[in-house]
Structures are given as structure tokens and as C-alpha cells.
Amino acid sequence: MNEMTQGHHHSDDDIGCLEAIEWLYAWLDGELDQGSVEQLEHHLQHCKSCYSRNEMERALTQRIKETSDEKTPPTLQKRLDKLLDEF
């Protein structure tokens, strides 16, 4: 069993790794409140495993965005311009 699945705590006032991963997802999506962000950052400073996970999740989220971003093709652009003119 790895460190994450044990809900590892690094100090008494630290959040566990499981909670850190939950919060990390919310943080990545801009859904974590400032107080929780600070607690999470504190945890990441002391937990190598979660720090690495944070790095990986950020990189993967960025790759997902990059690979899914599409530019509107000229054919669709013309079609939309025509539609908007006709409205």
C-alpha cells in the first residue's frame, strides 16, 4: 500500500495526503478557498509524494487543454459570419 492510500499526515496540523489530493483537484479547477489553498501549499512543502503529484496533475491538465484546443476552421468562420449577418 502506498503513502497516499494510508492518508499520511506529516504533522498534527497537516492535512492528510488523501485530503490533499481531493483539494488539489479543486485547486486546479479554481474551486478551492484561500484558507484551504494555504493549508494545501503547506502540505505540498512537506510531502514529496503530493508535491510530485501536484506537478504531474498540473502538467497533465495543461496537456489536456493544449491538445483539445482547436482553432475555428475558415469554413466554419465563414459560415458563422454569414449567419450573424443574416440575424
Binding site: N2, T5, E31
Partner: protein, 217 residues
Amino acid sequence: MMAQAATFCSEGFVGMKEQEKTKTWFSRQIKQNADALYSVAVRLTRNRAAAEDLVAESVIKAWSAIATLDNRDRFRPWLFRIMHNRFLSDCRKRSVRPVETSWSEQSEEGCGEEVTALLLEQPEEFLAWWATPERAFVNRLLGEQIRKAIDELPEVFRVTVLLVNVDGLAYDEAAEVLGVPTGTVRSRMKRGRTLLQTALWQQAKEAGLTGGAKFSE
């Protein structure tokens, strides 16, 4: 009588000016959101020609329903909701079943324990990678591998991940698009991410890209 005509003309003039303003505003919004709409449409339909049709039809529907938009600040989620509904409607017409998940909709709330369980169900070597991931591993993944993994996600997770990660919608906005509670979006994001990472890991393993990871095999 003259006063009435003048009032009518005045109201008509004001009404037309408002309509022009609305049209100008609507055109600007469509142009600003065109790339995002098309990006999601491509991943939804998995077909570029169908994606163009979906975007164009959604824009027509949005303009015809613009008077029902109460709050212009919510235009983006409103527009994406129209496109998502249109996509579902097209699937129904073609008798294609877009929702292909074994996950129970009823159990979507408060699924933190289920996510943990899902992680525990993964192969041992995946957990080893999951716990000590390497940034370089993510960088070695090809765009095509990432697109394939997204395309193969069960529909409910695929759409949610696209709306939040690709289009940058807030959870409450994505919830508005999908017509589900915000908590459901949160839980779908957790599951979607985990399923995506599992799929990517499998693909990378098959392609021999996991050489740097320390597995317990």
C-alpha cells in the same frame, strides 16, 4: 392621434436600436467563444464536419432563444448548454446512445470514498506510478494519446472534463450546462481524471513510454 403615432415611432425606434445592440453584443460573444465551442464540439462528435454543423446549429438556436437569457453574465454556460442539449438531441435522432457509463447517477454525490476505492482497484504498478508520478512521463505522452484517452472516457466524464479543463468553466457553470448539481460536477471531475490517467498509463505502457517509472512487477 399624432401623439400616439409619435410614441409608437419612438418605441419602434428604441426597440430597433435595442435589437441592433443585442445583435452586436451576440456577434461579439459568438466570435469570442467560437474556438472554445468548436473545441468541445470536436471532442463531443469526434468528427470535424459534424462539429461544424453542431456549432452552427447551436448558434442559430441561441439567437432564436436570446430573449430567454435572463442574465448576460451567464451567456457562456447558457450557450454551452444549448450545444450540449443539441448534441444529445442529435444522438437520440440517430439512435446513438451517448451515455455509456457503468457508474450509477444516483451514487454520484459524495463519492470521495468511491474514488479512493477506484484507485485501489487499479493494478499495483499503476498505483506505484500514481504515487510517485514523473512530470517527464506526462511530457512524453503524445497529443494523439491524450486525445484518444479523452475520446474513450465514458460520456458523462468526458463532457465534464472538457467543460472544466478545456473551456475553463467553473463547477457551477458546468453544472448549469449539464443540468446537474455542482457536487455532481465535482465528483465527475474526480472520476474523470482518475479514469483518464488510468487510460493514459495503459496506453503509455503499451507504447513503452513507462520505462522510467519504478514498478513492482
